[in-house]
């Protein structure tokens, strides 16, 4: 079930809100858990069992960790088993076909592709479940003795299938004891509506352009069209994913949960390292805290630091999908982050801000070619077209058409990817806090309400008008 679907907006969400807010406190978590399982089962009922298995397994590991934490040998084996269990499950469902395909290709075998379907959001809920056990192991979070509360943490529908990856320690207290307030609820509405608008109005429009361009043979594209396509895709993936994160954070807030931010205007970064501190923050911090730092981080000399970075970025690529293009995409970032650590970072800091910004955007946009292309051949050909190395046209009628037809939405999306709209809104609504001028303050408040409800109405109009609306991040 997509947040941007009529069945979620006009069926699931109002029913859950109603049940939740009329229920007594002791029943609220149960309502959320049952709703979350229903939400997950809606798309693929049989995969609920896999998620439940993951929950029960990690619930048991939590107890084992708590019990054996003082026994070095047992705790080590417990953690190894926990990793094997979780990564094994992820490996079977997400990477088995990729593994078989490559073994066949390298060794000339003809092993059958197991063709195991990918459960929605398995990467997200597996990482969340692992986070629970690791946090308990590190004493960063309390042991959760109530299986249903742990199940709620792993399966809570706002962040279940597309993140953000909520660390156990972030919500451990709120699962047990939280307070819903009108201010939080309204703030949740605002955040949800902004996310819905990002997804429906900006991401889908940009996505249409990207899909049209990438559906063509790279050799048929003009250089301008190839740039339009990848810029559109860069905007699509940002608004799609950050929009989804906004909706998740907003929904969480309605129910009294406070998730951490997942995006912070990544396209204004002035270095690749900064980009990754602003992009998919929950994944970056997960890998930092659970992989990079345990491997030694940057405290064991430059070569081990580079080794650790290679491991982290290889895993980042693999996490995004079972394909060599994703692995290349991860390593591509790893290389730039290592270069920045070696010398490039100092250069970028010394460059004029606009140049460092342009350079970073260029690197990021090129990286998205690998992310979007179905295979290396297409990615390579596409890059050749982008740099005019294909011997074809620089500009053609199709590029002209996309500029005229989608130019305004692309420009709007580019502006919206910066903090400018937020600053503008803050400027216009600054009088909302001028309590000594009540009319002005009330007008500003009303403007905010109208602004949000207008975006909500337009977003619904896009929801109703669309019939095909998959989230990009669903299959990761």
């Amino acid at each position: 079930m997509l947040f941007s679907s009529t069945v979620f907006l006009f069926y699931f969400l109002p029913v859950v809100l109603l049940l939740y807010f009329v229920s007594p406190r002791w029943l609220k978590n149960t309502i959320l858990l049952v709703s979350s399982l229903f939400f997950y089962a809606w798309g693929e009922p049989r995969f609920v069992l896999i998620m439940l298995a993951s929950i029960v397994m990690n619930y048991a590991f939590g107890f084992m960790v708590d019990k054996y934490r003082d026994d070095a040998k047992k705790i080590k084996w417990t953690m190894v088993l926990m990793l094997l269990g979780n990564l094994g499950m992820l490996g079977v469902f997400k990477y088995a076909s990729f593994f078989v395909e490559n073994v066949n290709s390298v060794f000339g075998f003809s092993l059958n592709d197991p063709e195991i379907p990918l459960p929605l959001g398995i990467s997200f809920f597996t990482f969340q479940a692992m986070s629970y056990v690791i946090d308990v192991y590190r004493n960063d979070g309390r042991l959760q003795k109530n299986l249903f509360d742990l199940a709620l943490y792993v399966s809570f529908f706002p962040q279940l299938i597309a993140g953000p990856i909520v660390r156990y320690q972030t919500v451990a207290d709120e699962i047990v004891d939280r307070r819903e307030t009108v201010d939080d609820f309204v703030s949740g509405i605002q955040r949800f509506v902004i996310g819905l608008g990002k997804k429906m109005i900006l991401a889908n429009s940009c996505g249409y352009v990207a899909d049209q361009v990438f559906s063509q043979s790279a050799g048929d594209l003009s250089t301008t069209l190839a740039w339009i396509g990848i810029i559109a895709y860069s905007l699509q993936i940002y608004f799609d994913f950050s929009g989804y994160s906004d909706m998740a954070i907003g929904l969480g807030r309605m129910f009294g949960f406070h998730f951490l931010e997942n995006f912070n205007y990544p396209y204004i970064s002035k270095s690749v390292s900064e980009f990754w501190r602003r992009w998919h923050i929950s994944l970056g911090s997960w890998f930092r805290d659970y992989v990079y730092i345990p491997l030694g981080g940057n405290r064991q000399g430059p070569w081990k630091t580079y080794r650790n970075l290679t491991v982290v970025w290889l895993l980042t690529g693999v996490w995004h999908g079972a394909s060599w293009t994703f692995i290349a995409w991860g390593l591509y970032y790893g290389i730039f982050i290592m270069l920045e650590r070696a010398f490039l970072g100092k250069w970028l800091a010394a460059w004029p801000a606009w140049l460092a910004h342009a350079f970073t955007l260029f690197i990021v946009v090129i990286g998205w070619v690998f992310f979007r292309a179905d295979n290396f051949t297409y990615a390579t050909e596409y890059l050749q077209v982008m740099f005019g190395l294909h011997g074809g046209e620089v500009f053609d009628q199709t590029a002209y058409f996309y500029l005229v037809q989608y130019g305004a939405v692309l420009v709007l999306a580019m502006i919206a990817a910066t903090p400018i709209p937020k600053l503008l809104v803050a400027h216009f609504l600054r009088h909302e806090v001028s309590v000594d001028r009540p009319v002005l303050a009330m007008s500003a408040g009303l403007m905010r309400a109208v602004y949000i409800l207008l975006i909500f109405a337009v977003s619904i109009s896009y929801v109703v008008s669309s019939t095909f609306n998959p989230f990009i991040y669903f299959r990761f």
Binding site: P14, M442, L453, F456, V464, T467
Partner: protein
């Protein structure tokens, strides 16, 4: 003390403002969600959408099997989409934003230029699939000694291309595709009746609806004249309707055609006036639909009854599209039997042809998927004297359908 009172006053004002703003947000947001829920759960389901020209999905009945295989959920999602409250208002709102805020000139592949709606086709085609069909078809017709003809009308985008109506950024391969279609006919020696010869120098208003992809009955009547000029070489004594014998009748109210429904109303600058031609003495034929459903007129005026904003008045011609239709003269003027292979574009022409031939049979190529048909067998079994294709040039998708008619 004074300071404390002032601070309380400030907080009180803040709370009041916050209360008003929060209330508006809550009412707006939750009101919309719960109204949507109430309409879906308790409202009467709509059966059909005229604006979309299709039946709407209904709430499915759950079974263990459909729940487990997910088809129940798909059914609920489809019905939730189709039955959402004020569905068309939302769709129009989206189109309005798209046109006026995001400045998108096209919607769903349709563009509005000087009140006329066009749907240019950017995809070039060599019509090879139709070429395969033409070759086999010609061979079968030659063996049966039945002459065949292909009447090819220029589609609206071809007309717009010839007249230089499209702006430079619009990609249209329609004129090029038309050339390819005619090449395939020439390759296979199927005589072409190029209706552009008659229609090409008319104004768009004379030939085409502004908001529909079909031609006007007036344009179809001009085409009928050219078709008969050619067919009378084989059927010299077949009578031909003249313009003087016809009168134009106008339907009250606006007509919003297929393109208007596709592009949606915010892009539509003006409605069409729907007209149809009828012999002053009336049509002298009767129609059998799909074999045994007989006694229908070629002009089905029931379509005009209970009309709504998006009633498809074009269905007055032949009363809609049928896999097979047979038009017979009540008092046969001759025993000629013409077989027309067609899509909806031919429907107005069928009525006129019915006045010229004792019998006109029509097979709609789009229904070849649904039943076994062999054009050659049909022609032989029914003593057909000639086969006439009537299409515009926008038929690159019909090749595989026609092949099923071999």
């Amino acid at each position: 003390m004074i300071q404390q009172t002032k601070s309380e006053q400030v907080r009180s004002k803040e709370r009041r403002i916050s209360w008003v703003v929060n209330s508006i947000m809550l009412i707006g947001f939750l009101g919309t969600l719960f109204y949507g829920l109430a309409v879906y759960a308790f409202g009467t389901e709509q059966a059909r959408s005229d604006s979309e020209g299709r039946m709407l999905a209904q709430r499915p009945e759950p079974t263990v099997e459909t729940i487990m295989d997910g088809s129940y959920m798909e059914g609920v999602e489809a019905s939730a989409n189709d039955q959402v409250f004020e569905r068309y208002l939302w769709i129009e709102t989206q189109a309005w934003v798209q046109r006026n805020v995001l400045q998108q000139q096209m919607n769903n592949g349709v563009i509005s230029i000087d009140e006329f709606l066009y749907s240019p086709d950017p995809v070039a085609s060599d019509y090879s699939s139709l070429g395969v069909f033409f070759k086999k078809f010609k061979q079968e017709m030659d063996e049966a000694e039945i002459p065949s003809y292909f009447a090819s009308a220029p589609s609206k985008p071809v007309y717009a291309t010839r007249q230089g109506i499209f702006p430079a950024y619009i990609e249209s391969a329609d004129a090029q595709n038309r050339g390819q279609l005619h090449e395939r006919l020439k390759d296979n020696e199927i005589p072409l009746i190029d209706l552009e010869e008659t229609l090409g120098d008319k104004t768009a208003k004379e030939i085409y609806f502004k908001t529909d992809h079909h031609w006007r009955p007036e344009g179809a009547f001009l085409a009928y004249g050219q078709i008969m000029d050619r067919l009378r070489e084989q059927f010299p004594d077949a009578p031909v309707l003249t313009a003087e014998q016809m009168e134009t009748k106008t339907v009250d109210g606006p007509f919003y055609g297929s393109h208007a429904r596709e592009i949606s109303m915010p892009y539509v600058e003006s409605a069409d006036t729907f007209t149809y031609l009828e012999p002053k003495d009336g049509f002298t034929t009767t129609v059998c639909r799909n074999g045994d459903d007989c006694g229908h007129p070629v002009l089905d005026k029931d379509v005009l009854k209970n009309a709504s904003k998006f009633t498809n008045y074009y269905n007055i011609f032949m009363g809609d599209n049928y896999a097979q239709a047979k038009i017979t003269q009540k008092n046969p003027k001759n025993d000629y039997h013409l077989l027309v292979l067609k899509d909806s574009y031919a429907n107005p022409v069928l009525g006129y042809l019915g006045e010229s031939f004792g019998t006109v049979s029509a097979l709609d190529v789009r229904y070849f998927d649904d039943y076994d048909v062999s054009i050659a067998d049909y022609a032989k079994e029914n003593d057909v004297d000639a086969v006439l294709f009537v299409h515009n040039d926008r038929i690159r998708g019909l090749g595989s359908m026609y092949q099923r008619g071999l």
